[in-house]
């Protein structure tokens, strides 16, 4: 994917969450956003997802500019898969229906075909035994995997993960990260916001560190983790890598 962010600014009231964020990546498969909580990384992801309107700035994916009006954003969102921290799934629907409903109603896939697609993906993620369970009957890790299944079922051009494992215990975190790693091997492009530094180093081919609404450091894993240039990034890494 080719990603170009230009001067993105986002405020919530008086609070500037994103302050003229710019980033140009000619060819990136896996972009990982890290940084202290409240620094603006989730907001940036939500702007890219078309869920948040920036006050100023441009987002360009593969040379295509995202127009920030509701009609255009609706189309934009339909080409992108998003997985949030938790509560992604619709609790009144089974795992299978959670996947087939958007396929049928948003993407116009005939219902038999949607079922087949959903079942194949669930099977691939070893969730076929749980396809008829409602979210309340699934574990946290299973729920996140179903959410991932739903996100990839539409064959998105880009997957966005917003701290997909922060609500999970270590074992479940591992099961979800395994899936994400597999998707990367399949060649899916994604942007991941995470606090899992080990995983970030493993999958990222580009890392951006966001603090106080700005990108304070960006580059390859090696550049960011081994020789960070900015004091903010060094601080952040020193804190999170201490233990």
């Amino acid at each position: 994917m080719k990603l170009k962010l230009q001067q993105i600014t986002k405020r919530f009231g008086d609070h500037v969450v994103l302050d003229k964020v710019s980033l140009t990546l000619e060819m990136v498969k896996t972009l990982v956003l890290i940084g202290p909580s409240g620094g603006g990384k989730s907001t940036l992801l939500r702007v890219i997802a078309g869920l948040e309107y920036p006050e100023a700035g441009d987002v360009e994916i593969d040379g295509e500019k995202v127009a920030f009006n509701e009609d255009a954003l609706l189309k934009h969102r339909r080409t992108i898969g998003v997985v949030f921290q938790a509560l992604n799934l619709f609790p009144h629907l089974t795992a299978l229906q959670n996947i087939t409903l958007p396929l049928e109603k948003v993407h116009g896939v005939p219902s038999a075909e949607a079922r087949d697609t959903a079942q194949q993906i669930l099977k691939r993620l070893q969730l076929d035994k749980h396809s008829h369970k409602k979210p309340a009957e699934l574990s946290g890790g299973q729920r996140q995997r179903v959410a991932i299944a739903r996100a990839i079922s539409i064959k998105p051009r880009l997957l966005l993960f917003d701290e997909p494992t922060s609500a999970l215990d270590p074992e479940m975190t591992a099961e979800v990260l395994n899936v994400i790693e597999e998707l990367r091997e399949d060649g899916l492009d994604f942007i991941l916001v995470t606090h899992e530094m080990g995983f970030a180093r493993l999958v990222a081919d580009h890392v951006a560190v966001i603090a106080d609404g700005r990108i304070v450091e960006a580059g390859t894993v090696e550049q960011v983790f081994e020789k960070p240039a900015s004091p903010q990034c060094r601080d952040f890494l020193a804190r999170v890598l201490k233990y």
Partner: protein
């Protein structure tokens, strides 16, 4: 010590009460209530006489059936009205929103009796609506509709922000979000209190008797005026309404319990 045990339920809240314990205690409670009534009625100076009333049993039946059809029609219409105003209250069209707020607060804050009178003697004639059944049903529906609107609105508000976010993220339009995500969850939440509201609706329909609609209560009033046996005329009302409301109450309770298990 051992004897008192037969009146005590399980310690843990929500635990299943063994059926002999349940049946026994229910029977005792029921007998106590029955005894109070039996005891009180026994003290009456002149005992109840059912012969004069029995002659009018067809009037009771007709009134009861009228109450049933009025209730069934009103149940449907008031749900539609409630749904409309619940949505209107959340509408981005501010005129619609405030219209809805005014309607809900006016209706919920004033007695149904006064509403029926104003509608029947002022508003309906002004708009040349003459059919008293139509007027009666409309007032009743607008009255119950205000409560149902609030029940549905509360239901919609229990659907979390994260659900709306997920719906947006998968690319649902606003209408689709309501249809596939918000409504199914909100209605599930609203159903038990709605069933309770339907019980009220059936009882509230008795007030239509003041504009001479020949429903259950009105017919009982008439029997009273023919026979001058007030108690005997009205007691069948209690029974008749209970036959209609009790199943709905039980259904509402069952829904509530089922929902608890689901979430």
């Amino acid at each position: 010590m051992n004897l008192s045990k037969i009146f005590i339920g399980p310690e843990r809240e929500g635990a299943v009460i063994p059926w002999p314990l349940r049946t026994f205690n229910f029977a005792v409670a029921f007998s106590l209530v029955a005894f109070v009534f039996y005891f009180s009625f026994r003290q009456l100076a002149s005992p109840l006489g059912w012969e004069p009333i029995a002659n009018y049993h067809t009037m009771y039946l007709q009134g009861w059936l009228t109450t049933i059809w009025i209730s069934v029609v009103s149940l449907g219409l008031s749900t539609i009205i409630g749904l409309f105003f619940a949505l209107a209250r959340r509408s981005r069209l501010l005129l619609l929103r405030y219209f809805s707020v005014i309607y809900i607060e006016l209706v919920r804050g004033t007695p149904l009796l006064v509403q029926i009178l104003i509608f029947f003697y002022v508003i309906a004639p002004a708009f040349q609506v003459e059919n008293r059944y139509l007027v009666g049903i409309l007032v009743l529906c607008f009255f119950e509709g205000a409560y149902i609107a609030e029940i549905i609105r509360a239901g919609i508000e229990t659907v979390g922000k994260s659900q709306i976010e997920s719906a947006r993220a998968v690319g649902f339009t606003r209408t689709q979000t309501y249809r596939y995500v918000i409504f199914p969850q909100a209605l599930r939440q609203s159903l038990p209190p709605m069933a309770g509201q339907f019980v009220s609706l059936i009882k509230d329909s008795s007030l239509l008797s003041i504009i001479a609609i020949n429903e259950f209560t009105q017919n009982a009033k008439q029997v009273n005026s023919y026979t001058f046996s007030t108690l005997e005329s009205y007691i069948p009302l209690a029974v008749g309404y209970l036959i209609l409301t009790l199943p709905i109450s039980l259904w509402s309770r069952w829904l509530e319990r089922r929902m608890k298990y689901e979430t």
